[in-house]
Amino acid sequence: MSQEHIDQAISREYSAGFISAIESDTLPPGLDEEVICWISHKKGEPDWLLQWRLEAYRGFRQMEEPTWAHVHYPPIDLEAVSYYSSPRSMKDGPKSLDEVDPELLATYAKLGIPLHEQEVLAGVAVDAVFDSVSVATTFRGKLAEAGVIFCPISEAVHSHPELVRKYLGTVVPRKDNYYAALNSAVFSDGSFVYIPKGVRCPMELSTYFRINEAKTGQFERTLIIADEGSHVSYLEGCTAPMRDENQLHAAVVELVALDGAQIKYSTVQNWYPGDAQGRGGIYNFVTKRGVAHRDAKISWTQVETGSAVTWKYPSCILRGDNSVGEFYSVALTNNFQQADTGTKMIHLGKNTRSTIISKGISAGASSNAYRGLVRMSPKAAGARNYTQCDSLLIGDRCAAHTFPYIESRNPSAVVEHEATTSKVSEDQLYLCQQRGLDAEKAVSMIVNGFCKEVFKELPMEFAVEAGKLLEVSLEGSVG
């Protein structure tokens, strides 16, 4: 491939990188207890939640930023971040989609996420979170018929306080880690899902996160509760405008799968990755964790192509006997992106099973690390884990790392871990080119094949998107 091609490809823009001209109410930068009180007051929260936030904040002030991840970035000035931004038109709150600011709807339409129900992706209910607030949730009526609650968490605090209070912070405790504590203190919005006993959620639920405002951080919090024997599939997508400065995204996702319940959580993360020189991009520091009770199943699938720095380990605590945890991941880094991502499978119950399939692709001058923990506790008799981590290197300036921690304290538990690292096979490339494909197309095809095991876990709508995303993200990586 010629230099010209490469330059051309690299210069292609991040397609979600536009900025929407939306008037917004944005809190001045800075973080103290007053800011937290302000956020809580703004949302009209009950006192228990304010106290909960303040407790998290005080814990946060005692904590230090973690340094163990294989990522490098200049210190983040938390005082320079605005902790709340909401589109002005939200002030009185839209009563229905018709009242949503047309500019906002246009923004989502541009992202390919139509919020008008009649145009909506077949069978997918969407909650759209713009900067700090949820702007629209579709199909709520239809979901309500099935007893499913799908609404912004800020609303759930008022409409279903008993559920929120019972489960919030039970999976990811307030002071779990530095960024989770920060999120607990300042979280502004996010999605709340409750699936009643025995109900199979009639459609896919999805949230699209969008950071628009400059100098803001996004701190959303998602809580999904699948009651006994229920099923739900949840999708999450993220984008942000191109800006030269780095922006912080520190989310917390908590999943509770009660006895026999199944939660499938899929993410396509396409936050702005920064430009080809490594300027700008999102710092994506996320804590995602689920607890699986008896016979329950939690399945995480993620396609990570965005963000300048990613620090993310969707995990499963397999508390109940026979519970199942899965983690399917594709993480692609290009240019100067850095990712340190993986999972934890904590086997507590008997005959618990977990599967980890991780595919890392590094290109450009990027760094991509898999970090995982499989822990077999003394009580996890008969537990099984299988882990397969493969890394693909494209170009000689990138890096790929694998850090799997295996801790076993039960002799009847079986843990198997395998990892490989290699570059795109020259034979495969040769075959494709001999059949007339150009190098870039060939690599994209081979990479897609490399990721197939993970893509097949994605819901149909996302699988197509993920494949395209991979192709776009790889552009300019083949020399």
Binding site: A399, A400, T402, I406, V414, H417, S422
Partner: protein, 435 residues
């Protein structure tokens, strides 16, 4: 810092040659500037140094018969150097069979010419800013062994260097240091052998071995940690491979209260190869920790690593196997495999194979398992009439025997196989090679 350190430092002899005293001073400075790592230090996440927080005194003389220390050494035919409680034991050593082309000298006994060669090579593999326990090793280094193999020399018999912990009452500490220099295109075998410790005698050995392989050299290196019970050991082997060098390194550790061994192989010239294998067998409340690191710095090298462990009773095993491929190390082939058997509900294994890769044209793979014995293999044995219990020991032994079989030194294999078979209550006559 702790009492422990002061005692270890005090145990250093004062009458060393001036050049050694320089090393001691430098080591002492580095050691004093540092703190003992805790469990929050990644490298020590699974291994506590609590056992070192006690008083260790300088060892007495090493005037103890090996038989009295319960140690029986194999007859390997080559030269042997024996140290008891850190003291050289001329009576139990034999250097007569040292072949031409090899020189074996103690640091404290080196003449000017030899001291010059030691000073030119000591610390080349470890580097001066190396880890804490290397600083301690140097601070307390009053002696050491230098094996100098001339270019082109080919040694048929292995050089056997033995360190024995024998009873002397109070807990004592020993500093062990070995420097092996393999000249261009030479070939040799070295067996480092640690023994003793039975009977509850407490001791702490801080061992550092440097292996320098010059172009085209071949070295078979064996490090046997057969010391037991309260014989604590923190050890490190650092190897440097020049162009076309080959290192075959085998490690064995029976457990003791604390055993932590770091193995580092540095590739400094193209076309080098290393095979690094090991077996660990802690039981009771023992703790064994192997940290290995393969540094592929240059292109066109290969490495292959296999470690297996059987962990019983309430013992703990830690394995950390890192493969680091530097930016320029294209065309590297590296693989690592770590398998563990847990044989008790109280036992624990923590393993972490790591890949850190900065070059793209490489083929690397690693695998790790923790499991019980293979049920199907057990069924096959039982279908031939072998009882479950007998089948289990047979398979356990077979599990490690696969690695033992990789030992190239036949005399050593013949020594270890029956010894380990006996540990698994197997009939020693059948376990070894069939005549």
């Amino acid at each position: 810092m702790s009492d422990f350190m002061q005692q270890v430092l005090d145990s250093a002899a004062t009458g060393s040659p001036p050049w050694l005293q320089d090393w001691q001073r430098a080591g002492r400075q580095r050691w004093q500037a540092s703190t003992l790592p805790g469990r929050k230090t990644e490298q020590w996440k699974y291994t506590s140094l609590q056992g070192l927080q006690q008083r260790f005194v300088a060892a007495n003389s090493g005037d103890v018969e090996l038989s009295a220390a319960g140690v029986a050494l194999p007859q390997l035919g080559g030269p042997r150097l024996v140290f008891v409680n850190g003291f050289y034991s001329p009576a139990q050593s034999s250097l007569e069979s040292l072949p031409p082309g090899a020189s074996l000298v103690r640091f404290s006994d080196a003449d000017d010419q030899q001291a010059k060669r030691i000073r030119a090579h000591l610390g080349l593999a470890t580097g001066r800013d190396e880890p804490l326990f290397t600083a301690l090793n140097e601070a307390a280094m009053s002696d050491g062994v230098f094996l100098d193999i001339a270019p082109g020399a080919s040694l048929a018999e292995p050089i056997h260097v033995v360190w024995v912990s024998a009873n002397q009452g109070e807990a004592f500490s020993v500093t062990q240091r070995l420097l092996v220099l393999c000249g261009e295109s030479s070939s040799a075998s070295v067996i480092e052998h640690f023994a003793g410790g039975a009977g509850g005698q407490r001791s702490f050995t801080n061992g550092v071995t440097e292996l320098l392989l010059q172009a085209g050299a071949t070295l078979c290196h064996y490090r046997l940690h057969l010391e037991q019970e309260a014989a604590l050991h923190i050890g490190r082997v650092q190897a440097r491979l020049a162009t076309g060098a080959t290192l075959n390194s085998f490690h064995l550790a029976l457990g003791s209260e604390l055993k932590r061994i770091d193995l580092v192989v540095d590739y400094c010239g193209e076309g080098a190869h290393c095979e690094l294998n090991g077996v660990y067998l802690p039981r009771g409340t023992e703790h064994v920790d192997y940290h290995t690191c393969i540094e592929h710095r240059v292109p066109n090298c290969t490495s292959s690593e296999t470690f297996r462990g059987i962990v019983g009773d309430s013992a703990t095993a830690v394995f950390n196997g890192r493969i680091h491929i530097h930016r320029d190390a294209q065309k590297t082939r590296a693989q690592l495999n770590n398998r563990n058997l847990l044989t008790s509900t109280q036992a624990e294994v923590n393993t972490k194979p790591e890949l850190e890769i900065y070059a793209d044209d490489v083929q690397c793979a690693h695998g790790a398992t923790v499991a019980q014995l293979d049920e199907l293999a057990l069924h096959y044995l039982r279908s031939r009439g072998v009882s479950r219990a007998a089948g289990e020991v047979m398979l356990s032994f077979g599990f490690i025997n696969e690695v033992i079989e990789s030992i190239r030194c036949e005399a050593l294999r013949d020594y270890l196989q029956p010894m380990l078979a006996a540990r698994f209550a197997r009939d020693p006559a059948l376990v070894g090679q069939v005549a």
